[in-house]
Amino acid sequence: MKIHVDNQLCTGCRSCQIVCALVHFKVNNPKKSALKIEARFPDPGEYRVHICFQCGQCAEVCPEEAIRQDGDRYLLNMEKCTFCQACVEACPRGVLPTHQELPSPIKCDNCFECLEICAYNALSLRESG
């Protein structure tokens, strides 16, 4: 399963970011989330959600093998990560956000909390492959 985004439905509320950071880092900090919300105003008046679709390219380039496949998803082991950011550069969608207080990029682990909190169904599940 992977997360599918319908940008038309996104309202820019960022509830997904809040819950992602709360669940993974136990802090209230939307900037410590695995999602990026891009706002395009005033013209055309759109939001674009950028989130990992578990392609595995980060795992391929990681020199420390800190990112491994686990079923449908790829998980980052923070203890092995040296913060070289090879994965950040390799990511085709630019969805490995970093934060100056965190020792590694933020890797989406398909917990699907963001889907549950989205009141607009902008985030849904699709079959992988």
Binding site: T11, I18, V19, K31, G45
Partner: protein
Amino acid sequence: MKGYTGMILRVDLTTGKINKEPLPESLCRKYIGGRGFIARILFDELPRHIEPLGPQNKVIVATGPLSGQFVPSAGRTILGTKSPATRGYGESNIGGHFATELKQAGYDLIILEGQAEKPSILHIKDGDVNLLSGQRYWGMGAIQTERVLKDDLGERYQCLTIGPAGEKEVPIACVSHDFGRQAGRCGIGAVFGNKRLKAIAVIGTQDIPIADFRSALEVGKKMYQACMSHHALELWQKYGTSSVVSWSNRIGTFPTRNFQSGHFSSFTNISGIVMRERIVVKDKGCFACPMACGKYSRIHREDKKIYVEGPEYETAALLGGNCGLSNIEDLAYANYLCDELGLDTISAGSAVAFAMECFERGIIGVRETEGLVLRFGESEIVFKLLEKMGRREGIGDLLCQGVKATARVWGKGSEHFAMEVKGLEISGYESRNAPAMMLSYMTSDIGAHHRPSWAVTADITLGRNSLEGKAQRVVELQHLRPLFDVLGVCRLPWIELDISPSLYVKALNACTGMDKTIEELLEISERIWNLTRLFNIRENPGYGRHCDYPPGRWMGEPVQTGPTRGKTLSRDQVDHLLDEYYKLRGWDENGIPLPETLEQFGLFQEAKEIGSWKSD
């Protein structure tokens, strides 16, 4: 204490000095945040009788302990100042994402003091705070400024901006944010302009502190789930406040032709249904909001694409029905003009409608209007008047000061239908057959506005023609509704999706570690209510009962058309409502808080001093 950042940012625009001060815990416990901070600080720090448009006035930009937290619609910033419109307590709140960003930068509130010599931008980047030159942006529209600032500084910055109206210190100028949200009332934009502060731009990366993370997560999820399973959610997501347009006409409370009527015969052309069909392109939400009431729209004018968030209900009321505009694209364009100029759509719509009625009655003529023929429903006239008001040109220079000031100059009985209380224009509910709503407008602390008490439902459930229980309901609402401005969150999930206030209390305690009850919070709210009343009494010599009356039109003149045709309230009935209200509040017959009432709320010093202010 967690929940707060614990830091006040104090900016002296005269000297350029920027100070960071600790937020006193006692202030948090006694006043909680947002509106509570504003009322206390303005009262304590503003010298008596200072000029609102002068260097001694201050603007407070405040968040609350729940701002930026995992609570539905936790994205409110509250602004306060001594209002240039009323010369009294001024407060307005704004959605979007500014509050969260400010807290992530590490500040609970900003106190703006003094007056810059040249146009300035307050720039906040976590711990780095400085004043930048605002010259480049001076003259730009409020929305345009935000766009250019984001281009210059970074897309992630959240900005508060003013437009040309604020720069020209128009007393009905607003503060703008997030491409279409405004802190509309009380002319706070004018005070920004007087301080030559064009914008505040903030970016923050820090954690927002939570005391009990587990409880906060649990309560937050509960509140979100309650929102998402509510039967009215879809209505609000789709139509936002525009869903109220049809209902308001149905019950005869829709301002029409300068409040001559409560029903606009063309309302279906400016309703939520038509809006969604013809112009809405995006449902746009504030921080953490499951309701996304923002309706972002696009119209075409002279081959250009024009974007505007809205029209909201209030704009459809005061610029729509009130001015007779019966075309949704025209209404959206008028909204856009106000947004770029930085004008409050409520006050601007009321002023335009007032001018139209004066022209129709022959109180003013083409000499005053420089040849313009003012008639209800003439959209090009509305557009021209808004431009003139925003830039203080021609007739706009007087009209932009609001209907009270304009009626004083034009005279000839026009005061009778200058639809204001205390110098603030009445918002979107024609209330001659809604006594609780009328009382709400009469007694709102900032002047006529529905934010502190929206009581139309009470009028329906208790009886439109009855005065029974109305004052009681207004008092209750004036404590409960402003609590949201204290906590720093939007009140719509509570109002529209029945989210229980007890959940907000749980969230407050979880985020801060405090142990408040709803009763304690309501008591704090009542303390604040008395404090803002005192501020008005102190600042306006002779303030009292006479300031709490509605305009002449609402006492004796019958509604012209619609479901409430023929209805009115008499002076006796208005007096009855006021008497009952003062009694419930523990104020004397002149509307002055009794010393024992103030003591009940711990306002001992103020109780001692009140005697000296009254006799000035």
